[in-house]
Symmetry: C2
Subunit: 377 residues, 2 copies
Amino acid sequence: MSKSAEFTKLHVALGERSYDIVIGAGLDSAGLLIAQHLKRKRTFIITDKNVAETQLETFVKRFENAGIEIAQKVVLSPGEETKNFTVVSALVETLLHQGLERSDVIIALGGGVVGDITGFAAAIALRGIAFIQIPTTLLAQVDSSVGGKTGIDTPYGKNTIGAFHQPQLVLIDTNVLDTLPLRELQAGYAEIVKYGAIKDAKFFAWLEANGKQLLSGLEGEKHEFRIEAVIRSCQIKADVVVADEREEGERALLNFGHTFGHALESETGFSNALIHGEGVSIGMAMAARFSAELGFAPKADAERLIAHLKACGLPVHPSDKGPKALDPVRILAHMKHDKKVKDGRITLILLRGIGSAFITREVEEDRLLAFLRNELK
Amino acid sequence: MSKSAEFTKLHVALGERSYDIVIGAGLDSAGLLIAQHLKRKRTFIITDKNVAETQLETFVKRFENAGIEIAQKVVLSPGEETKNFTVVSALVETLLHQGLERSDVIIALGGGVVGDITGFAAAIALRGIAFIQIPTTLLAQVDSSVGGKTGIDTPYGKNTIGAFHQPQLVLIDTNVLDTLPLRELQAGYAEIVKYGAIKDAKFFAWLEANGKQLLSGLEGEKHEFRIEAVIRSCQIKADVVVADEREEGERALLNFGHTFGHALESETGFSNALIHGEGVSIGMAMAARFSAELGFAPKADAERLIAHLKACGLPVHPSDKGPKALDPVRILAHMKHDKKVKDGRITLILLRGIGSAFITREVEEDRLLAFLRNELK
């Protein structure tokens, strides 16, 4: 980690796939930082309609000030439903039509959807070109923009098609969060809580003390806490990714809350009724309750996690958000379609306590189904 | 390289992406060789209609004898037009529907099209699973099955979407060539000649002596020559791939004849009028003539290459195959859409002589256009 007046720089050490994460409030030097990565001073920006309205012009100006030509701006529809084969093939063909070359770099300016689809397009265009992430949501800043997971959805699940394709640079300007709705901020905050819950009890205690101010505190205070939380989250994520880039082991810990959460998101059709971070929040609360019920974690730790999520305005129970009448058997079926299923067995990430999670394939389906029946009754 | 009574084994040393190429005539132990790579004894075979009629049952029996369950056989339409987004997305969704897991291995049983599309499906399904190549054409055996280039086509060119995704094993049974039409054999042979032309003058001389018997000689002789030529071709290809896996330098030599060839194939709509190996043959002859014209190679070397291609029944001039009235400007435009174009400059692979090729971006467009006008008049 290195700090300058304007930003903090973290390094993700992955050999020839290594890159920096640059974090600051108001990155006026974004153009210069990017220019260093361009072989010719020409790039393509992929964004969505919402970001185009609020952030695009600021960044285009920063790029142009650094002498970078924007060969094309591609504006996608916002929302998870954009992550499909039709959109990604049209995106790649648009880039090819504009004369994309192998040494070009494309830029994902947006939230998780824009980052996932742009990263995947970069992974497959001309058999792989470079891309830069400029995440514009808290969720993307602390999670999806780091680590190289890219992909699109199929009827068989989220990101069931994709690639591990690391970005060449991640540029995080926390000032972009100022225009983000509170609900989006809270959803991103769920992923921050996750890092504390699975890996870092001290960070979790820090969040308990500062989480609410981070979300909606006074001006100066709010920004300082956001930068600090983003730096610590990215550092934990980077450490995990370096240890296990392709999720053959430890990286699965980052899916804490996600197996339950994805199943709930599936049942709501990945709609606005339950956004990803909210699904993760409910999923973490469920995993915590299940961990306590199975005797892995002290009940008090599960309750502490749930209490903090609630205090920050996040849902903690399936009935708090999304569809009301959920069928436990359908939820179980969704969990069985998870990418981490192995020999037909569901992978669960459970807690031993705050700051300590583990991966297990040992939980019997009957036990899980009984838990789901109780949660959904 | 190691030899047993039944097969020769070459090793492609790419660190954690290393794999073997096993070459033999009648690989009855194919099932056992594959079983070693399966975590659960269950696999998926992707093939095309032609191969399904001639080869599929033999291999299915070999697998079943080794206790491998075939979860699904997917039979694609033969031909280059299968290499599109619609087919690859349907293929991946079929596999997911059958309960594909990350640790599964899928098998490409077929020619270049089956290998390219199956490899690409493996690269993107669940963010990357393993696959095994069992090439059933001479062209796939000596070229496309080795080296991890996978992909599909777009209106902007062949394989403009794809991934570098190495197979886990390449199994080459030269006996499958017995049912291959002579034209297909000759087309594959063009890629064999390419290895001699760019890298190995001794091998080229060996081909001059044995090429015709390899294609259509007496029974025993024919098989022996085929195995020898496949081994030497795969060895050269493996060496080049190990030196430059992602084609940042030397690997581009393997595209000798391909920049011209692809342009001609484009103009014939990648149809049966001009199959890939034929395009490469004409392309090599053109590159040889252009090399001599520019003074890079002795005229005698160009003539020697062209004479051998002709002697083996291969086309050596644009007018020998495909559409008659070709427009030089359109051919040039196709060449400018090549993946290897850099800063708008066309990459050409030219000869210094038999056994020695080089990469250049220095040839002026006007010079190339004048050459094309002369070739196509």
